[in-house]
Symmetry: C2
Subunit: 430 residues, 2 copies
């Protein structure tokens, strides 16, 4: 098995290089995406229909032909294998229950002098969810992106998904139905992002766009950011497994392959205190790869980006995890909760041998859209908090205005903002 093994110690310089990744600036991509966005902004539905015919080989006829109605979603659900639909529904219930706990409430406090100070929390009005088409169409991704918006109380959840050659997977439509999507549009690529960001004659512009996509979609999201909100542009998926000598090498290997099979750029690291485990894992990887139909992808990812990293103790393992800030962190150790308390940076932490990452990907309830590329240092799983916005409320009493006016006038004048001071004076000095 071709995978790097290395021993590290503080300050872990060798890992900084290993984790650096390649940052690419593709000017041709940027230009091409900017052109498509401009065209959709200028020509609306006509441009959208043309790009869809060209890139997806799908001729919708007219704008109405780009829409899949609510009845068609319900019908799609009826076409899906009932056992699979049942699993999807149960997954959706768990995801909804977990996200319900993220609902936030505003506050409006009445002070002793009658002043009101508060903060209102309100859902976004309309959001767009990008769902890749073809083979990368994952129903679980529909649930994970749409349900937090639905729990937040977003009025309109518009899902866009390309339908190459007119094909669309019933299970994806069924997931949209289960997740509370209010509108499905058969568009994809930069042109779909443009339609959501600018609106067209037939499609209302949204407040936020979320969901994974290829490099055109990612670049388009980057370019419309500011005009609408976006979620993070995701990098390759990652797992970091911390294991001690009690861990089963087969568990470790299976979890690394589960990550590596996503993509040749996926990243799977084992960090362990056990030399015996470090020695046993490559053989276990080999054995499991032999029966994985995606073995070529997984093998390439493990060879190029995988690592087995030996450390002296779990304290060092925690330091490595904090440095890497992985999307997924598994703790296959005797006392996972104690170790979790020592690690600050991770998107999701999986505690112990009974919590392999796919249980979280599909079913447990927490979101599987997680910060990648070290951004767990500052970013969070997708959640209800991503679909609300806050507004401050300030209602002062006459007494409070009079009491605080001298301070405000002094501060404003110290900054040279005479008009600010004057707006207070015209109320207190006349």
């Amino acid at each position: 098995m071709n995978i790097k093994t290395l021993r590290v110690s503080p300050p872990y310089r060798e890992l900084r290089d290993l984790a650096a990744g390649a940052s690419t600036d593709d000017a041709a991509l940027r230009e091409s995406v900017a052109g498509i966005l401009r065209d959709v902004a200028d020509r609306g539905d006509a441009a959208l229909l043309e790009y869809t015919a060209r890139f997806d080989r799908f001729d919708a006829g007219d704008a109405a032909g780009l829409r899949i109605g609510a009845d068609a979603l319900a019908r799609a659900a009826a076409e899906v294998d009932p056992a699979l639909l049942d699993s999807l529904r149960r997954a959706a219930e768990n995801v909804r229950a977990f996200h319900e706990k993220q609902r936030e409430h505003g506050y409006l406090d009445v002070e002793a002098d009658g002043s009101l100070l508060g903060q209102r929390v309100a859902p976004l009005r309309r959001v767009g969810i990008y769902v890749p088409g073809g083979r990368a169409a994952y129903p679980s991704s529909v649930l994970m992106n749409a349900i937090p918006a639905s729990v937040a109380g977003v009025d309109e959840i518009a899902m866009v998904t390309p339908t190459p050659d007119g094909e669309v997977l019933p299970v994806v439509l069924a997931a949209a139905h289960v997740a509370g999507v209010t509108e499905v549009l058969r568009i994809g690529g930069a042109q779909a992002v443009g339609a959501l960001a600018y609106g067209t004659e037939s499609i209302g512009r949204v407040d936020k766009i979320v969901g994974p996509g290829n490099k055109w979609v990612a670049e388009a999201k980057r370019q419309v950011f500011g005009r609408v909100d976006i979620d993070m542009v995701a990098g390759p998926s990652e797992i970091l497994v911390i294991a001690d000598d009690a861990a089963d090498p087969v568990h470790v290997a299976a979890d690394m392959i589960g990550q590596a099979e996503h993509d040749p750029d996926a990243i799977a690291w084992l960090v362990t205190t056990s030399a015996a485990l470090a020695e046993a894992v490559p053989a276990a990887l080999e054995e499991l790869l032999a029966r994985n139909p995606r073995r070529d992808v997984a093998r390439a990812a493990l060879r190029d980006w995988g690592a087995i990293i030996l450390v002296d103790d779990l304290e060092q393992a925690a330091e490595v995890a904090d440095l890497r800030a992985p999307e997924h962190l598994e703790l296959l150790v005797r006392e996972p909760l104690a170790l979790a308390g020592r690690i600050r940076n991770a998107g999701a932490i999986f505690l112990g041998a009974n919590s392999p990452e796919p249980m979280g990907d599909y079913f447990a309830g927490p979101n599987h859209v997680l910060p990648t590329g070290g951004s767990a240092r500052f970013a969070s799983p997708l959640g209800v908090y991503d679909f609300v916005k806050r507004t401050s409320l300030i209602g002062l009493s006459a007494a409070r205005l009079l009491r605080d006016a001298p301070h405000v006038i002094r501060l404003a004048e110290s900054e040279g903002l005479f008009g600010h001071a004057e707006a207070v004076r015209v109320r207190t000095e006349r």
Copy 2:
């Protein structure tokens, strides 16, 4: 007084054009900033010292010379006019008290079968706060950017501020002292953003950069976004005043000028149901401008971007506000709280005649860093929530794993992810 007056009605097309703004893509700026960032990433302190000598005409000697120690901050506070320092301290107390209410708590629920599901909320470790130098150095901005980070529990709050010709305002250092800044660096521009994003030999890299800046700073923040988090890139400041026939035209005019004096691009709109008010405001603007030392700036802003907008009723006024999604919204009407309930999009809402916007800018407690350019549709005031990140915690019991395994295996296989299914199987089928 040169200001547009117009009557509008649904669907308010004329306002869409008025609010469009100019989107600029400056390739030369982009290249120049990218070069500075690359240089700081490659050469660290040496590059930083050179750019600081060149752009700020400040020769720090060595990296240590770029630092202002904690003792110097305390000394600066002693140099400030005691009345001003007292006002700053009281403002800081109010801001702290308001933001304390934004603290969030995680949860960790133990389910009946012993499974743990939860979400941890943790502060970012280190953040950078950009404070413009020279005349644009606003102590209130130091408070508003640093205090939410301090309340969130951020370990290290590094403030960067250029000191042109070596000059630094004691009041800005005093504000840093009061706000809980842990480190002050005499650097600015794209080079300061680069130092915070990449780190240098003497400066640790941060997790997030916030604070206002000129176009070089804004472009640099845009370019490092992803590697570190950033706050929104702010556009020109805006106010929208909704007033009925009970409003005092002098209040309205003073509040519009308070906004307009910021910048020739600042935006001040009055939306009113009262033709009499619409007629009285221009004269009041003229009178107040005559005694404002920043009258040229304010006059240009009112001429180019100001508007007095007549509507039929407050329902239409609310619709205009939602369409514009203003940074600041003042409700100078008889029942401001009732009207606030009908408006969804605004950064901060000021309720009634006793709450002129500068009371919120400086003193009331809510943050003055607010979403501009219509982004109040989806963005929030700067808050404690901007300085924390969340981590999901998933610890399943053996019973839960066994119960849910068939669903997870089915879902994973339906997406073609055999390795995901296998990671569950190796735990349940052996």
